[in-house]
Symmetry: C2
């Protein structure tokens, strides 16, 4: 399936142990900039950041991506760029995340053999196709109702997550309305990487929110719940 | 300034003699698909096509770009992709065209040293900056009022075109509300490449519209008007 370069595989090793996946959104950051949120989240220990800003021009987005690349590199954190493969390549990001209507996965792999290529999936069919097309990981969502993104489909819930997770032969992340109190049931359902927007970006103290989420994830993993993949300290 | 590869320079040689520059827009194609318009325009003799479709998903755009690449390659026509450097690289396009809010010119040159990199400019300042940043050509516009694109600035007119053309040290194209009857005055103002959307895409017979425009361009050039660069048969 996936024939990644050794740099790709090394990046995926780090990806699998990150546990927490911060996805940015400046309009949902309570008046702060994404740069401020990323800085605080890195101080809190996050090791995986996706830059996703839908309301910027591409020129602004590319400039912000350069700064986020600097910050994440200094913190030894992975940086994924939403949607724009060209921006990911230009700033030397670790990966790109693609929605169902975005750039095609096979083309992204060809353009950037070292890039982690993630895909948003909302059903068993989409997950299977993304794997076949060569995705490095899939995101499964939205799990719970969320105001972050317009969504006309249904929310998967824990049962929907389990159905898709059952076909996942590559790492998966979970997203959509996830709060700290959901972490144990998500880990029980096999989730190893939890993606969040507002739980961090809109938190009064994003650094502390990250630190607490990471502690909760570690705790849940230590509980010895079953599931694929490895979490954090593995 | 510009340090293009030899493939880049060869592409620019062809660019400079194309004369007519078709810019696509499926919503402005009188119910026909962009693929149909491109096929007809190539039959009419166009040698320079920019794929610009703002109302498609990136996945649809990338798929269409592959087909347009096939058609243009078979007709020995250049293909430029609007806005998306990743799509241009993925389909092996000859170039990319970037607006003021789009991907940064220097980053595009680094990612694709063989690509023609065009830039939309609307003033002497923007034209100068695009040249400094390494653009292969600039587009100057909008020259005349047009319904094709929302535009809150003023229209340049022939005088505005001349002011910007005077600072152009690289090839330039002209765009915005251009009809066949404008060709002689544009050529007199130094224009050698005329970019058009609806004059071709909305024409009853796009093949014939292209053939007529090319004939008019040739005629105007033979008129021996002064101006930089070379036109068509040079």
């Amino acid at each position: 399936m996936l024939t990644g370069s050794s740099l790709h595989d090394e990046r995926m090793r780090r990806f699998k142990t990150a546990g927490l996946y911060l996805v940015t959104s400046q309009p949902l950051s309570a008046g702060r900039t994404t740069l401020e949120i990323v800085r605080a989240a890195l101080a809190g220990g996050v090791k995986l950041v996706q830059l996703r800003e839908k309301e910027m021009t591409l020129r602004e987005y590319a400039a912000l991506a350069e700064r986020v690349r600097d910050l994440t590199a200094r913190a030894a954190a992975l940086m994924i760029v939403n949607d724009h493969v060209d921006v990911a390549l230009a700033v030397g990001a670790d990966g790109v995340h693609l929605g169902q209507d975005d750039f095609p996965i096979p083309a992204a792999r060809r353009l950037g053999p070292d890039l982690i290529v993630g895909a948003s999936t909302h059903s068993v069919e989409e997950a299977s196709r993304a794997q076949t097309e060569g995705a490095s990981y899939i995101n499964i969502g939205p799990i719970f109702p969320t105001g972050t993104k317009q969504w006309n489909g249904k929310f998967l819930g824990i049962e929907g997550l389990k159905r898709i997770a059952a076909v996942a032969r590559i790492p998966f992340t979970v997203m959509g309305g996830i709060k700290r109190e959901h972490v144990p049931e998500l880990v029980c359902a096999g989730a190893r990487t939890v993606a969040l927007v507002t739980t961090v970006t809109a938190a009064p103290d994003p650094c502390r929110a990250v630190a607490e989420l990471l502690a909760t994830l570690r705790e849940a993993a230590r509980g010895g719940v079953s599931g694929k993949g490895s979490l954090l300290s593995d």
